[in-house]
């Protein structure tokens, strides 16, 4: 990049800011943000979370990579987020390119644009950002001075729908992967960029851990299914592996979490207490693709919380993971932190999904000083039968016992999360949710001796995801989902005695169909994404921006030449033989094991958790050369005695 192309665009942007909503989100300058000297760095990353700042800023993945990269000598990382349509229009009118919020340099001036996709609904936002950056939308049209566009995050485990738009994808944990990519880019630049862009991508692909869609051809059968996916040049692997960080204590990031000035969706100090999950819930992509379980030690957690709170001033700590109550030392962690912060008005939260009495003890501990407002559980399925299908092993009696304990301990509200449209589901499975909620209220009134208790049922449509046993399953159509939810609503509202104590929240089935199309789509779906973007589609995760009709109209037109349609991608059941679009991306899971687990689901057979039963051969550990890493370490979390020894403010040194 010529030097002048890397100048800050802030002066031009500044003139536009008085005319847009919440301008603070575009100015950067957050506490703990980093701006490194441009000229003294030779590898420069622009990291993007392709959604609004208020959603993107708290994202742990971006925050971790931002810090890991900026700690390296000669490497800089800056952040960029999707701009709202009001600013987008002004930027187009005044020719202001997509910029990073740190130094307001144009994204096009960076070596890499790394996008983190937690959800597929960010794809159109990526196209907006590319276009605003002046980077060609399709990888094949890019030149030597365009950044390498790299996708990561959970959605990248099937990058095929965006294969035309990205140069490469990295699947799995990013901490070590970004450093390896940095090393390769640096070497290539030092050598004078031999072989251009293609050579760089080839060097990345050769590692086996970076997927370059352009190096693979997809061949189709006459019926529209995929015949095979093959490398189109020698030296690139048939399958690309995910990355796994093995010792979380060696990666205590973020150390200095960003503290935004603007209001964001999560305003707390988050600590990831373990990564991975082997509960084996069959609908859960996150649980499947992040195996094995790797715990952060109790002492490592204690240190991160302490340092993080000091660095940020947050008043809440979130202990994150896919099922936080499952940490082998969670009891000691909760008690230790509650002791430590007893006098500090620091709130502790745990995304609590497990339905058992132990969870209530934990919740009690974490709310020692505070309010006991609401507890959340996720039975996911309404009937005993469907819970066996999805392998969410909780009986209705367990649930009732658990909520009885909760109401008995002073909790006033219980939230229950469910899904609609699970494989083999009938109306009856969903209608049983109403019965369950009724029993919860009955029991709650009995235990608490009060009518002033509530139960909220929250339910959304199930979307089958790649790399799960349900990857072959038919998705329920939007119409059937809506019908089923309407029946459930009527049943709950019709209950004269308990209905008023039961809240009902649901999401209609339409966005789920678009998510389903993008989740299990192949390269042909890229034409749909592009058409939607060109038709004005943005911010698909936002109800007020999402347009189902636009997606369906664009899909009809864009898919017609291929002889497939939205139903083909969503409501169609796949067979064992079918080549799935993501088969060449290796999450470590053995496809035959996934298929057997799918058959077990249909037979209503449950599978245990391999943390406390023998291995059931999902394939991840041998394939990825990894192993389960869990405690207990036997160590205790002590209160920090140094605290308050000398008052810091005004009284310190």
């Amino acid at each position: 990049m010529p030097a002048e192309a890397a100048e800050s665009v802030f002066p031009q942007l500044e003139a536009l800011l008085p005319h847009v909503q919440k301008p603070i989100q575009y100015v950067g300058g957050e506490l703990n943000s980093t701006v490194k000297d441009w000229d003294s760095c030779d590898v420069r990353w622009a990291l993007m979370y392709p959604d609004a700042y208020e959603v993107g800023l708290p994202n742990q993945g971006v925050m971790i990579l931002y810090e890991v990269l900026n700690e390296q000598d000669g490497v800089l990382a800056e952040r960029t987020y999707s701009v709202w349509p009001d600013l987008e229009a002004l930027m187009r009118e005044h020719h202001v390119p997509q910029f990073t919020v740190d130094s307001h340099r144009p994204v096009k001036a960076f070596d890499v644009l790394g996008l983190s996709f937690s959800t597929e609904l960010g794809y159109t936002n990526m196209l907006t950002a590319l276009d605003l950056s002046g980077i060609p939308l399709e990888a094949k049209d890019r030149g030597l001075d365009d950044p390498i566009v790299m996708a990561g995050g959970h959605a990248a485990f099937n990058p095929e729908p965006i294969a035309d738009f990205i140069d490469c994808a990295v699947i799995g944990d990013g901490e070590q992967a970004v450093l390896e990519v940095t090393r390769i880019i640096r070497a290539w630049k030092e050598e004078g960029r031999p072989g251009g862009r293609e050579e760089l991508l080839f060097r990345l692909a050769k590692t086996g851990g970076v997927y370059v869609p352009g190096f693979y051809d997809v061949e189709y059968l006459p019926d529209g299914r995929i015949a095979r996916v093959v490398p189109n040049r020698s030296g690139v692997p048939w399958r690309v592996s995910k990355h796994t960080v093995m010792d979380l204590d060696e990666w205590p990031y973020p150390k200095q979490p960003l503290v935004p000035l603007a209001e964001t969706v999560h305003e707390r100090m988050s600590v990831e207490i373990f990564r991975g999950c082997t509960r084996g819930c069959r609908f859960c992509q996150a649980g499947m693709i992040t195996r094995p379980v790797r715990e952060r030690s109790i002492t490592g957690i204690g240190e991160m919380v302490d340092k993080g709170l000091k660095a940020t001033g947050f008043e809440e700590v979130g202990l994150l993971s896919l099922s936080s109550a499952d940490h082998s030392e969670i009891g000691d962690i909760a008690k230790g932190l509650a002791d430590r912060y007893e006098d500090d008005k620091i709130g502790l939260s745990l995304p609590s999904t497990r339905v058992d009495a132990f969870n209530i003890d934990l919740a009690n501990e974490l709310t020692r000083n505070g309010r006991r407002s609401g507890l959340t559980f996720a039975p996911e399925g309404g009937s005993e039968r469907i819970r066996k299908v999805i392998n969410k092993m909780v009986s209705e009696d367990d649930l009732i016992r658990t909520v009885a304990t909760a109401y008995g301990n002073g909790w006033r509200q219980v939230k229950l999360y469910f899904m609609c449209g699970l494989p083999t589901e009938t109306d009856d499975d969903v209608l049983q949710i109403a019965d369950m909620a009724t029993r919860v209220i009955q029991k709650g009134r009995e235990v608490s001796g009060s009518n002033d208790i509530r139960c909220t049922v929250s339910i959304g449509g199930f979307v089958p995801k790649p790399h799960t046993p349900f990857q072959w399953a038919p998705q329920l159509s939007a119409e059937e989902t809506d019908e089923r939810l309407a029946k459930l609503r009527d049943k709950i509202r019709g209950d004269k005695k308990y209905g008023r104590s039961i809240g009902f929240r649901y999401h209609d089935g339409k966005p789920g169909i678009v998510e389903g199309l993008l989740s299990r789509g192949d390269r042909r779906v890229g034409a749909v994404i592009r058409a939607v973007y060109e038709d004005g589609g943005r911010f698909d995760g936002w109800r007020e921006h999402f347009s189902y009709d636009r997606w369906m109209n664009c899909a009809d037109k864009a898919l017609a030449p291929f002889g497939v349609d939205v139903d083909w991608y969503t409501t169609r059941e796949r067979t064992y033989e079918e080549v799935l679009p993501w088969d060449h991306l290796d999450s470590g899971l053995d496809k035959d094991w996934l298929w057997e687990d799918w058959q077990d689901a249909l037979d209503e057979t449950e599978v245990e958790d391999c943390r406390w039963t023998p291995c059931f051969d999902c394939g991840v550990c041998p394939q990825m050369d990894t192993s389960i890493q869990i405690g207990p370490t036997g160590k205790k979390l002590l209160p920090l005695t140094v605290k308050n020894a000398a008052p810091a403010a005004g009284g310190g040194r």
């Binding site: 001033g313 008043e315 008005k345 000398a646 403010a649 005004g650 009284g651």
Partner: protein, 258 residues
């Protein structure tokens, strides 16, 4: 309970901080700096902070004020330095005095503003200012939540002049024509903001800056009718502190580790 009054700024790009944003950032800074805050009683206790008269989002300021209540006395200057360190650069805590008098808010009756009009020739600005000053009333409109409201922007203005040189705090480079206005405006209800005065200049003289004006509050305080100046609202507290040292502060200073 000790009360401390602080003057703070919104500088550079952080002038886009809204008042709500500032409140959150400030309360976090209080926790980072481990300030022994007094909390309100009630179900959800809040640290006791009184904010006075915040500048609108998008305008810079050298003179914002707030007051905090502490459960243990602290040296104001050390407290200031700690809090300043705990906030992002641009939101700077620049002054701290212990409250010795009542009614800080009552002493904030007027503001001095600087309006930088990039791309406007100083002569044009001067003509518009003269027209504005000569007018008896200048009706302007502002869009509010309840629709468009019309009001007079002239009577609250006690001083408006086109500055010859600028003592600018603003952060934009200027090699083009640029006019600088200095505005003294009383705090009245409904408030007359710099934006309203700019609308007034447009109304009386068709002054239309090509880019948004960079507006900075330079001072806030009691308006002295005789001299026509705005006085330092913390001065009475400072004077009282100089004559009678507060017993609590003296103790704190004596026990603080060196």
């Amino acid at each position: 309970m000790q009360r401390i009054r602080l003057r703070y700024t919104k500088r550079g790009r952080l002038r886009f901080t809204s008042h709500r944003d500032f409140q959150r950032a400030f309360e976090r800074a209080l926790r980072r700096a481990e300030v022994p805050m007094a909390y309100s009683a009630g179900f959800t206790p809040h640290p006791k902070v009184s904010y006075a008269n915040a500048a609108p989002t998008g305008t810079g300021s050298e003179a914002e004020y707030l007051e905090i209540a502490l459960t243990e006395p602290r040296d104001p200057e050390r407290l200031r330095a700690l809090l300043d360190e705990s906030l992002p650069a641009g939101l700077d805590i620049v002054e701290a005095v212990e409250a010795r008098t009542s009614g800080l808010a009552d002493r904030l009756t007027a503001s001095v503003w600087e309006l930088r009009l990039d791309g406007v020739a100083p002569e044009d600005a001067r003509r518009a200012v003269d027209a504005f000053n000569a007018a008896e009333t200048v009706e302007v409109q502002r869009r509010t939540k309840n629709g468009v409201r019309t009001f007079d922007a002239r009577s609250a203005v006690v001083g408006l002049e086109s500055a010859k040189t600028h003592s600018s705090q603003a952060d934009r480079p200027s090699d083009h024509p640029c006019a600088i206005l200095r505005l003294v405006v009383r705090h009245v209800t409904p408030a007359v903001r710099p934006d309203d005065v700019l609308s007034g200049l447009r109304a009386v003289a068709d002054l239309a800056p090509p880019v948004p004006a960079a507006v900075t509050r330079l001072a806030q305080g009691l308006f002295d009718e005789e001299t026509g100046t705005v006085t330092d609202p913390l001065a009475p507290d400072r004077e009282a502190a100089a004559t009678v040292p507060h017993p609590a502060a003296a103790t704190a200073a004596a026990t603080a580790p060196a």
